[in-house]
Symmetry: C2
DNA sequence: ACTGAAGTGGGACGATCGTCCCAGTCGCAT
DNA sequence: ATGCGACTGGGACGATCGTCCCACTTCAGT
């Protein structure tokens, strides 16, 4: 094994852990499975991290931080705010269909964090990040459509996140594209009514 | 330990397993934790069940089957279909607030079933059951409000389930009642537009 | 070239997991 | 009452888990 500084090893292990969680679930993301995925030895793991928990914490933190606007539209399209929202939701749905395992992994990490009091803040931060990204998109869309939100945009964003969560969970189980599109349509409908012409 | 026929022991173990999953998560629902919760010995477990997997499968199946209309309104209230839907969603929210661990357990069981191909059908069945219950409520509400669904009621029900899932997940993380109520309001808004006067 | 720190490898530890075995005990049909 | 099948208890099995230890190798600074 080549010699790699511990900092780089940490990043490589986090990436390997994400792949393992995506493919096999967090329950199967053992230290041995992760180092096998990363092509390292067990000792390298505990040289870079004090414990498996420390890696999982970093996994949640960094992966959410890097979630970026990958999910969000860079060019908003549509005639009015409703169309824009639906287009954005459908774009998210395409992202979901393209990499279902990744979103499933995100869901599992959230639930995992929810299970221990000291990790709960990580789940909160995860949702704050989602809300921030959502609010940014909602603001941009309102700007382009010439409307303003009648409810604080953070609140609208939280509703948006709830809708995308529901879409994700339902589709992951049923794999029913038509239902997912109906959800996107209905969600865009509801959200657009939280805005009014400027 | 009193002598109990295996069939009753199965039911008792399933109930104990549900409590353990609710309180500590499915990862902690080991055979030993379950029998401790049930006040039995390990041997009793494997006398009633061939394996832990068999119990988990039965847990998913029976708990979902018994989910009943506990969640759903027995008396629909509201002036129009929109009000009825919002009242129903708020009623579900009350149920969620009253027993968050139960809904969290349901979510975990779904995700657990999603992780192995042979268990995926259980998750599908779980959602079919939800859809059935939702469709029944939606039909009753439409009847009372004198409207009819412009989309097949099963499809509307699937959207409803997605919305409640999103509400559940978001609230479990943030515990923000206001956001949950906003979600209920917006969801009722969107769903009501899938109906038209008769 | 020498040295000390950084990084690596493999084997081992104790804990806990699901499962199994078997001697023992209870209750019911006869 | 007695025999037999249903049920129980406790201890044990091998597998796998997270973590640790220690001898070893490589590299940077001198």
């Amino acid at each position: 094994m080549a010699r790699i500084p511990a900092s780089e090893r940490r990043a490589a292990l986090v990436q390997a852990a994400l792949r393992v969680v995506s493919q096999r679930g967090i329950a199967q993301a053992t230290t041995r499975a992760i180092v096998a995925e990363a092509g390292m030895s067990l000792a390298s793991f505990h040289y870079a991290f004090d414990s498996r928990d420390e890696l999982i914490d970093e996994l949640i933190t960094t992966v959410v931080a890097r979630e970026q606007e990958a999910v969000l539209p860079d060019d908003l399209q549509g005639h009015d705010i409703r169309d824009m929202l639906e287009a954005g939701l459908l774009r998210y749905f395409d992202h979901l269909r393209g990499d279902p395992e990744h979103e499933q992994a995100m869901l599992e990490l959230t639930q995992y964090a929810l299970r221990s009091p000291e990790r709960h803040p990580l789940a909160i931060a995860q949702y704050d990040r989602y809300t921030e990204l959502g609010a940014r998109s909602l603001s941009a869309a309102a700007e382009l459509a010439g409307v303003s939100w009648t409810t604080p945009v953070e609140q609208v964003a939280r509703v948006l996140i709830a809708f995308t969560d529901g879409l994700t969970l339902t589709w992951l189980v049923t794999r029913d594209d038509d239902v997912a599109r109906s959800v996107a349509h209905a969600a865009a409908d509801a959200l657009s009514r939280m805005a009014e012409p400027r």
